[in-house]
Point group: D2
Chain length 289, copies 4
């Protein structure tokens, strides 16, 4: 039995008394049934964040009417807010280079329905994974990014930008995409581009983090799922995890063990994002799990 259709309301506003009462009052007034609730006050900035899942069929109106009627409440509390319909699948585009473990993991979850999305396309700077993606009936775009030729690189990212625009996705997932997106794309799609970094950030920023980890002799290696910003590997962190290693593990072992952490962390981060569980507060995230 699939879960019932829900409206997912997320709110950010200045913190004050009465917000929860106003929101829950609005919902109760229309006999709405709250299935899940999360709320959080940021102490220093005095911002308030909340997320409600409301049973769609318990409300006497649809999403557009919800939007219209809720506006008065939202305005009274100076809210930035959004409402989503769980029956409308989120649109996703995946970017990948040659390493396929994260892509394969996401494709599998997509195929068996665990990840209930509309997978619009896969974009890659290599052709290696074209047939694999094709087998899943997902469009594949090959956009080569030539090294050492700034103009060709710009052209490539212009093409990526066009694809981003064409698909107008809710999530652009860099599933081991080994290219740095230009700042203009990062800014335009802020809060919608998700990366998996193969280290426990802020340790080992930049290239070859497993080599860095090996050199330093750490006893745990990790992975970090974060939103992409113009500053490399510094965007708001959505999810992290680690796995134990020891002196007998060579770089190749770290890479192998790390793949499993990367897959798991990215899958959780993507899930939180498409379920509207992640709210961004400055350089950090609130994740209502």
């Amino acid at each position: 039995m699939p879960p019932p259709r829900r409206f997912i309301l997320t709110i950010a506003c200045p913190d004050r008394t009465g917000i929860v009462a106003a929101v829950s009052g609005f919902i109760a007034e229309h006999h709405g049934w709250i299935l899940e609730a999360g709320q959080h006050s940021e102490n220093e900035s005095k911002r308030f964040y909340m997320r409600y899942e409301v049973l769609a069929e318990s409300l006497p109106f649809d999403l557009s009417q919800f939007r219209e009627r809720f506006r008065a409440v939202a305005d009274a509390y100076d809210m930035r807010w959004s409402i989503a319909d769980s029956s409308v699948k989120k649109r996703m585009v995946i970017l990948v280079s040659r390493q396929e473990h994260c892509l394969a993991d996401l494709l599998h979850r997509y195929r068996v329905g665990e990840l209930d999305i509309d997978l619009c396309a896969v974009i890659s700077n290599h052709r290696d994974l074209e047939s694999y993606v094709g087998w899943h009936d997902v469009p594949f775009h090959h956009v080569p990014v030539p090294a050492g030729d700034p103009e060709a690189k710009n052209a490539a990212f212009a093409q990526v930008g066009e694809l981003f625009e064409r698909y107008d996705a809710d999530a652009y997932v860099l599933a081991r995409f080994m290219q740095i997106l230009p700042p203009s794309l990062c800014e335009r799609y802020a809060g919608r581009i998700i990366n998996i970094h193969h280290s426990f950030l802020p340790s080992f920023i930049g290239a070859r983090p497993y080599h860095q980890a090996f050199e330093r002799g750490v006893k745990l290696i990790g992975a970090t799922c974060h939103y992409v910003t113009a500053e490399l590997d510094a965007g708001p962190i959505i999810e992290q995890d680690v796995v134990r290693v020891d002196h007998s593990d060579q770089v190749d072992d770290l890479v192998r063990l790390g793949r499993d952490v990367e897959k798991a962390v990215l899958a959780r981060g993507v899930r939180y994002h498409i379920e509207d569980r992640v709210l961004i507060h400055e350089r950090k995230t609130i994740v209502f799990t």
Copy 2:
């Protein structure tokens, strides 16, 4: 800077629309500031559970007035509810036998203020830990429980029962107390007696769980903090954790490694309990962390 004084409201009632609106409406009406909120619907039983932390100074009345005024809301929704004042320390009694690691851990957290409680007394069936407890200025009661003499045993537990009654505590913590409490005590103090069992329940119920774990060759050992009921090791679970072991670990190693898990799990469970974060639903718990 200590955290501010809070009123902690916990509620259990039949699930229906409007509960959150009624409760948050009541609080908003009196300009109460909600610091933390948790809620949960039990699908099958259609019971609703919630927990609010409200800034005490934001409300225009004290606890007894809160109780009086809130009654109308509570009655309308058929609530079982309680309200606690964070500035009133919870009363705790610890029971221990000879193994002291859990006791020492709790005493340390108590002494440095991490566990902000009124530690009424320690009860033990042995004298081994008397001076150690004494150094912490905590009353110590020695109640020997003779093996193999049912009458003497009954007398001993009658004395334990008197101490329970005298101290009227919010929590009776069995910190490796190697005696089985009589059903009458378990029932009378249901929801207030907390045990640490040295296995990952329901694996290895009963005696010598580390020996059982060693015999079975498990690759992880664990500990379980649970409320005590008349049925051995079957009460509602509050918290659990595990640690990795391997073939080279002998029973002594399991005991040693397990001690650290026991301490950590008991400390977390006790903390959740005294912060009124644990609500019991039949044989299970809801823990608002």
Copy 3:
């Protein structure tokens, strides 16, 4: 750069002095280079276990000569021993029913070369995964197992037995194969049949462990990879792991979260097995990781 060719020597024998000296002396005498070593003494049974990885090219002879020459050492210490050549791929057969996550995970690791095996075939009592397996160029055998018809069931398992014999594999992996193998198969292929059980054994033996876990209200759920014996879910454990859950997780959530643990635990267990890292001691395993 792939790892170099190695000879993997595993030994079990009565414990006494001089074993390591005899084995390492034999290897040193022929200028063999030991890459990795593990050893373990079972205290109670006084059995000794060891595993060596020797660089193949450092030895002046091949596997059959090794076998011949080492016999004198082995006999002197009453060893049960085996030697494997890392360049000879282990043969594997996977059995699966309808749930595909474990199969998909193993197929992915096989396809990208992480699991360096000869994947002989997939056997299933359903046709659901036939095309998916086919895409990987792996033979697929559909052997329906009719419920409630003992004779037809026997015939089905006779067919499974023939496939086992035909492929003569080093590992028969039950990757969520929801049928109980007959004792005759379990005994004949003892130490070669690997199962993934979807609970932290010995908790929740038998059917629907996630439902059992939900009912009990545990705070961690797990998975167990073990050798199959005639006694249900009681074979030697190779690997286990857990993931944290809470009161908000319904059975469906446990199933979803558990899938990731099952995949990870099975993949690790299978890897240990095909790298000859697992030695069975009565009902337990020694795993030289």
Copy 4:
């Protein structure tokens, strides 16, 4: 029953064939019983490391005779080596400032015999913990370290240096000692000074790591036990661990949750060190657990 007396042999030498045979041959020749063995080859530097635990009573000679007789083997392979007697307690000095959780944890393990050491003294730049240490019958030295007065600071560390020399310990443990040791001490006692850093290094080097972690919004916080070198927080890592946090955890929560990780990580690191399980290889460690 306590574990039997063992000789613990650790060796580092250039890697070549025959080392294990030579060492195990020497032991077998004298009918020595190997209880535990670990070995490791560093690929790049071609250094070989090993550790043996030999049952003392199985050998016909004592430690000094072992040293004498083993010299020929050691010289033939250019070994740096040491041999320890498990019945001779390791000498330990603990340094602490005001935060007592790590000290209390170590004292508890010492008092109940889990940490089987000779605890020579506690040195502190404050008097806060004097009576607590005194209750454990351990000498306490108060060495105030005046801030902002370089000469007085030098004098203080000269006094610390004298205490180091007087006690001639096997381990100097900085159990949340909030002063930076002068390079001369770090160098003189290289490989014997152990620090617990309250972050998952190399993240958050330096002061106030929990504040740094909070600012960055990480989803796990950690602790690192490492040898102290002249370069701040850059010494060889012995052990690390992490704990999950989320957006609701404020700095105070991170500090509280982190304390438990610090205690556990330091206790494990100290145990590995006093059992001669840690060998230092350049900036990294080999830990034979």
